[in-house]
């Protein structure tokens, strides 16, 4: 996107560098001059919040790796040594463990924001798909990280999730077993499994960071969506420079999010965890209720809702992968749910369904819980495969504002006298256009 201004290196050194590696210009156009729609609400600060959480996780993770021992006999004790003996070790470990939960809270808000405002629609499909890849990498990283303390939930979580791949036996006999043995590096989850999970848990975040750069690149190429879903028409009127406006707003959002983080970190650091993971891994005893971390619960509920092994695995992975198809499943011409009266309601039903699936994922798979999970799983896929395509065809959207500037004027007109005195913004001229 064309920016507000162009970068001019001020000092001789900067000029020298710029002619050899134009990094100053890149940074300037990406994070200073980058034009941001002026009507973004606080849901748009979650990109910055996620960026911060990624940094928090990588920094605390690297530090924890300095004290952690990836060995089945020593891992649990090394984590306890971090908690008890390492200077501020308890703080760093709780930051990392709760940080994972915060990362997922932020990413879920970020994803649902995208779903609400239609941020996946053309020309942002690639941006969206990169986001789905980041989500997948996050899930893989979080899963492997949870195995590392080598508690009971670590061990049995690793056993159950790796055994998912044995479902391939139902397609080609022997292949699933082969894959599972390959993942384990043995005939059960054991030391080799722990060791490779540690290596991958260290590697994946950096791959994730690489995809994040692509995600930002794609974002800066097509420009940000905004609450109206109307594209930027006039850079001067519809946008403001990233710095100082978006940077400051992002900072406010980030600090408030840190307050939320601190509540869990300092006062209820084990709230998101499982008591069973404070028992060292024991291959001869499975905990009474084994459940994954909360952020996997909806998908876990979908897995258990399907009575067949292969079917459950396929449904679970489809539940994530279907997100990548959303840009084509949604047939509406209008992006933002603010102008889609029907979609807006179905959106909230979908949110409730996801929460319901999460609740059921934590419940034992018996009787009414299974039936409820089956109903909600059916609805989950119904939302994507039927409701989204059909809604776009039958729904009558509300009239879109002519431009972002116009929508800003409309919203300030009500309360602020100064806005009125500022006069017409000159953006009303263009009639409603395709979003």
């Amino acid at each position: 996107m064309e920016g507000h201004s162009t970068y001019v290196p001020k000092s001789g050194i900067a000029r020298w560098l710029e002619s050899r590696l134009p990094i100053g210009g890149l940074m300037h156009s990406s994070f200073i001059a980058f034009p941001v729609p002026r009507n973004l609400n606080y849901f748009w600060t979650f990109g910055a919040i996620l960026m911060m959480m990624l940094v928090v996780q990588i920094v605390t993770g690297v530090v924890l790796a300095m004290h952690y021992t990836p060995n089945a006999k020593l891992a649990f004790a090394s984590v306890e040594a971090i908690m008890r003996d390492v200077n501020f070790g308890w703080l760093l470990r709780y930051m990392h463990a709760n940080g994972a939960s915060m990362f997922f809270i932020a990413v879920y808000i970020h994803i649902f924001r995208g779903l609400y405002y239609g941020s996946y629609k053309a020309p942002r499909e690639v941006l969206w798909i990169l986001g789905v890849i980041i989500f997948l990498l996050m899930m893989a990283t979080a899963f492997m990280g949870y195995v590392l303390p080598w508690g009971q939930m670590s061990f049995w979580g690793a056993t159950v999730i790796t055994n998912l791949f044995s479902a391939f036996d139902e397609i080609i006999p022997g292949v699933g077993t082969w894959i599972v043995t390959l993942l384990w590096g043995g005939f059960a989850v054991d030391n080799p499994t722990l060791n490779r999970f540690f290596a991958l848990h260290y590697l994946l975040p950096f791959m994730l960071a690489g995809v994040v750069i692509l995600h930002i690149w794609a974002l800066h190429h097509v420009g940000q969506n905004n609450p109206t879903g109307v594209e930027v028409k006039n850079v001067r009127k519809d946008t403001i420079p990233f710095t100082p406006y978006a940077t400051l707003k992002d900072t406010v959002g980030t600090v408030v999010f840190l307050l939320f983080f601190a509540w869990f970190l300092f006062y209820i650091p084990n709230y998101m965890g499982h008591a069973d993971n404070y028992i060292e891994a024991n291959p001869s005893v499975t905990p009474a209720h084994i459940v994954p971390e909360w952020y996997f619960l909806p998908f876990y509920a979908i897995l258990r809702a399907i009575p067949s092994k292969l079917g459950g695995v396929i449904a679970m992975f489809s539940a994530v992968l279907i997100l990548a198809a959303v840009p084509w499943l949604d047939t509406s011409r209008v992006r933002s749910a603010s102008y889609r009266p029907l979609y807006r309601q179905f959106f909230w039903v979908f949110v409730l369904v996801c929460i319901g699936l999460g609740y059921l994922g934590a419940k034992p798979p018996e009787g009414g819980y299974t039936i409820a999970a089956q109903i909600l799983t059916f609805y989950y896929f119904l939302h994507f495969l039927v409701i989204l395509p059909v809604l776009g065809l039958v729904e009558t959207p509300r009239r879109l504002p002519g431009s972002i500037a116009e929508s800003v004027l409309e919203s300030t007109k009500g309360g602020s006298a100064t806005a009125v005195s500022a006069g017409p913004a000159g953006a009303v001229a263009s009639p409603q256009t395709k979003g």
Binding site: R38, A77, E80, M83, R84, W90, L91, R236, T239, I240, P241, P244, Y245, L248, K249, V252, V255, L259, A262, F264, L265, F266, Y267, I268, N270, Y271, A275, Y278, I279, A288, P341, L342, Q345, F346, V349, L352, V353, G356, Y359, L360, K363, G367, G368, Y369, I371, A372, I375, L376, Y379, V394, E395, T396, A405, L409, T412, S416, T418, A419, A422, A425
Partner: protein
């Protein structure tokens, strides 16, 4: 007009679905409640702990009493392997002096070696040593205890919990309730009672009201007056009852599982004050910088 019709129908459909979802969620929950006791124990009664809440602190006297109970009653079967003797003198703990810890450690025999002859040997414990385990290995512990090894207690207060259920688990996030572990330990220690008529008790089992499934391998460990709480003045510092012993040892085990809790809550308070101030400042800076935009939306 036609659009409105469709919208209305869809709203109805959505509302209907919502009701169905809510009903589906609520039904099994109720079903589970009625039969809740079958695969669990009774819900432990809540105890008012000194260490609960954002400003909670450990009661040093209580931790010292709890340690005494652990040492005189639990330690013969249950280890405390992640704790070192030195931890007893750490800030935020029972507050024993360095000298007391040294003397206490010396009462234990610790395995060390090999020496120059290549042999393992026993020596008196030092402050830096971890608590020696009561049995050489898990199999030995199991054999000596009717087939079930007594679990290590270092993390017991964080490794045990009970289901809070909806909506309590949501309230807990706001009230910072995080004491299910010590509540549970206290409940089990005080929960020994005669099995109800017709209860099938397997060999070597003991009936406990709060233990999941009610059959616990550990025999009733505490009795009134068992542990001497007399202070230097010859008077008991606290009631010498099962209930008090259980509370004290639960508090001690909470500290043992989370020895940095007090530092955590202290730093947390400072972090909160700091973040609130920073949030306020950043908010006003943002407001100031954005103000001209709101007044003159056409300029940027």
């Amino acid at each position: 007009m036609k659009g409105h019709r469709i919208m209305w129908n869809k709203t109805l459909a959505a509302a209907g679905l919502l009701t169905a979802v809510a009903a589906a969620l609520a039904l099994p929950a109720r079903a589970a409640e009625s039969g809740g006791d079958s695969h669990g124990g009774a819900v432990p009664p809540p105890i008012s702990w000194s260490f609960a809440g954002p400003f909670g602190t450990f009661d040093q006297q209580q931790l010292q009493r709890g340690f005494k109970v652990y040492r005189e009653v639990c330690a013969s079967c249950h280890g405390l392997k992640f704790l070192a003797f030195r931890n007893l003198a750490d800030p935020g703990g029972p507050g024993f002096s360095e000298g007391q810890v040294k003397a206490l450690a010396a009462e234990y025999k610790v395995k060390d070696g090999p020496n120059d002859q290549g042999e393992m040997f026993e020596r008196p414990g030092r402050a830096a040593d971890r608590f020696p385990e009561p049995f050489p290995n898990e199999q030995a512990a199991a054999v000596a205890n009717g087939g079930k090894a007594p679990p290590d207690l270092s993390l017991m207060a964080k490794a045990r919990t009970y289901e809070r259920g909806f909506p309590w688990f949501i309230f807990d996030a706001f009230t910072q309730f995080a004491e299910t572990g010590p509540n549970y330990i206290h409940a089990v220690l005080t929960g020994y009672e005669a099995a109800p008529a017709g209860f099938q008790m397997p060999d070597g089992g003991n009936y406990n009201r709060y233990f999941p499934g009610h059959v616990i391998a550990m025999p009733k460990p505490l009795n009134d007056g068992q542990v001497d709480y007399k202070g230097p003045d010859g008077k008991p510092q606290a009631p010498e009852t099962i209930d008090q012993y259980s509370k004290d040892v639960s508090a001690f085990l909470m500290w043992a599982a989370e020895p940095k809790m007090m530092a955590r809550k202290e730093i947390g308070f400072k972090a909160f004050i700091f973040l609130i101030v920073l949030a306020g400042l950043v908010y006003f800076v943002k407001k100031k910088v954005w103000a001209p935009l709101h007044d003159h939306p056409e300029t940027a």
